[in-house]
Symmetry: C2
């Protein structure tokens, strides 16, 4: 008999059904027993008469046959009058590390230590349902706009962002690095004739930060597009994505958003503010000085407040970062080479995107490498591409866990990561 998911039970009222899942709750009234079964899609009450199997403990995996009946008092409005219950996955614990069937204050680190158990409540899995929808929306948005999905190597011979903060790998008899981003490769693939590419893949940062917003391994939503006019084409593309994403999530994840109490933002045209102006605003409005060529976490948060007040937007593009603070491939402005055609997107006070236009002229790139004290011969695999007609191009990277965290209203990025890797954590 085909297995029925709990969410589909309403189509099977008064029928014999098979359901499968985990024992969420046991309520023994003597002659009659109520068991709550939890599957991927929801909870349902099972009604049993007679003795329970001795091994039937909380969180055991079971296969249950019975008749589906309407019961307006039961969770979801249906219950199952059980005719057979079989334990297919035994519970072998002495005590559960923490309860699954009630919300209890458990330290995040303990939850991360016992991920198989901590993810079982639907509410803890909800951010990942939303995360999957974000990824689907990203792919769908770009695929319908002539972008090709690519897969590029994560083991590199040389760094992309200057070479610091990289993990090293022993690659046979040589030393290699884990990719901080697919930057060089997505540019090369634009030049290789794909013109517009995107990649959803892991990126690695050997940063010594251990904060609520840092991971050492994360998923990067990258795109890169050729034949652009300026960095504004890239911002327009991201703005368009955000305008598509929010209704998409509303449509596909309303239940999960409700579970989390998450409120989606309204996306109108996103204000674009040069960094110097943002720093000025922070100083004038909040007396808050900023580090040179950047905003700090407190500044981002205060600026979010200001932008909300002034523009009624939870998003803001910060533009024109100084040349000295951006990587070697970043396009400087022609009329003021001290600033670049780059931007960050801040959402609810957190940087979720870095992007910009890149240098596409061979000689310009070679000169810039020298200015940055980089040895061009080390990057010849990359610079060579610029000899063969590289069109003006640019792109961006969105941190998947960061956008998930902010959309879900989570307070720690690890809650938007199935199995986080940080300074202290390499397991599970």
């Amino acid at each position: 008999m085909e297995r029925i998911y709990v969410k589909e039970l309403k189509k099977h009222c008064e029928q014999e059904v098979t359901v499968q899942g985990w024992v969420h709750r046991i309520h023994d009234l003597g002659r009659i027993k109520f068991i709550t079964l939890r599957d991927k899609t929801g909870l349902v009450q099972l009604v049993l008469e007679g003795e329970l199997e001795e091994n039937l403990r909380l969180e055991a995996a079971v296969t249950v046959k019975g008749v589906c009946r309407e019961n307006e008092k039961a969770t979801g409005g249906y219950e199952i009058q059980v005719t057979s219950l079989q334990i297919v996955g035994k519970a072998n614990y002495e005590v559960l590390p923490f309860p699954v069937n009630k919300e209890e204050s458990v330290h995040l680190e303990t939850k991360l230590d016992h991920r198989t158990i901590s993810l079982r409540p639907a509410k803890v899995r909800a951010p990942f349902v939303i995360q999957q929808a974000i990824v689907e929306a990203f792919r769908s948005y770009l695929s319908t706009r002539h972008f090709s999905e690519i897969h590029t190597p994560k083991i590199l011979a040389a760094g992309t962002e200057g070479g610091s903060e990289m993990f090293t790998v022993s690659y046979f008899d040589t030393r290699a690095f884990l990719a901080q981003s697919p930057q060089f490769y997505k540019q090369m693939m634009v030049g290789a004739g794909f013109e517009r590419v995107f990649e959803i893949g892991h990126a690695y940062r050997a940063e010594l930060h251990n904060t609520w917003r840092h991971l050492n391994e994360y998923v990067s939503l990258d795109f890169e597009m050729g034949f652009i006019e300026s960095e504004h084409d890239i911002m327009n593309m991201e703005e368009g994505f955000m305008k598509m994403l929010i209704p998409y999530l509303q449509e596909h994840c309303s239940e999960e958003l409700d579970m989390l109490g998450a409120v989606l933002p309204t996306v109108r045209d996103i204000p674009r503010m040069p960094l110097a102006e943002a720093q000025q605003v922070l100083l004038e409005e909040y007396g808050k000085p900023s580090p040179p060529g950047n905003l700090d976490a407190e500044g981002e948060s205060l600026l979010a407040e200001y932008i909300m007040k002034k523009y009624d937007s939870e998003f803001v593009f910060i533009t024109k970062y100084p040349t000295a603070k951006r990587p070697v491939y970043t396009m400087p402005y022609e009329d003021d080479p001290s600033v670049t055609r780059s931007f960050d997107l801040l959402f609810r006070g957190l940087e979720i995107t870095t992007g910009g236009q890149r240098i596409h002229d061979y000689h310009h790139l070679m000169d810039n490498m020298k200015k940055f004290n980089l040895d061009p011969t080390e990057f010849s695999f990359y610079t060579e591409s610029f000899r063969y007609g590289m069109p003006p191009h640019g792109g961006l990277a969105i941190g998947l866990e960061r956008i998930t965290m902010k959309l879900c209203g989570l307070s720690n990025i690890r809650e938007a990561t199935l199995l986080p890797r940080d300074l202290k954590r390499l397991t599970p």
Copy 2:
């Protein structure tokens, strides 16, 4: 003026258009010049009068404005009467490493050395169009069957397949490994309540092979599903995928398949043959002995011939691999624990999938670890999950480059990889 892709020109006949791309060919007849422009979607003839810019060389990137006219003699049936041509990406080479506009016999290693140039011909990019469609089909097939897409760490504290042939990473002050597969994590996510999961991500094998079918970094299409009856549920799922994939490729990639001269297979029910029987067939029909507990490359190829002849199938599942030859998590048969509930899928004589049912009982797994001389404490992050009601489950992994290679009729897996990593190659 919005840029028009070459493939869409037919909708813009007699209109002024902007096209962008690379200079594919220059044919100078004196007063009149014909230039072939190549963009992501195709080739179009440009007609110019007057002098050409001096820098207009093959493979320069250009933006062209002009009027689109029907011309049945031109490639694609249209040409553009040029009013302006602007070089937006200069050509800075002395000579091209090899021509883009004609097929010439170039050594694969040379093509891989100059990937930005070697990928420019549409025929060389065609396998990646097909590869993207394979990935889309895989996602779509599974997403509509209650599978969740997951992203799991590639930096691990311990090995999944026994610990040999792994790349090591310096992870801050400790030694870690690159994932050979998401095996442990996809199992854990089944147990964590997702029930059915899939992942499309990189996998790493520090194998010393350097053959036409090996890569050291590849993309693995993984899935894992809970509440199964046996390994046949996994094979059924893959068979269903193949039956859906082939018409999907026919519909979405017919042009690329034609370019490559690729012939898609017919997928009927896929024969399932125990390894021992396959070895017997090879010995009896071809006098070909096999290595213990496996087939070698020659054996796979001969068996493909036999299966085609006998079952008219280009696919065959080889089942019941010996326990000693499969990883510790593989489910042995109850009535004959010397063989396992595992399988490989061979397609056109090449293994493209390994899968099977996994051990789900805690004590069974612990006993097996001891039999395999593994220290269970090293894997406690994984084995702990089996204490909390792990349902019967199984899954598989498809090598993306392998299936792409075989479907496209390529002779080397590197042609199905944008930027391959092998024993000798770490760049570009």
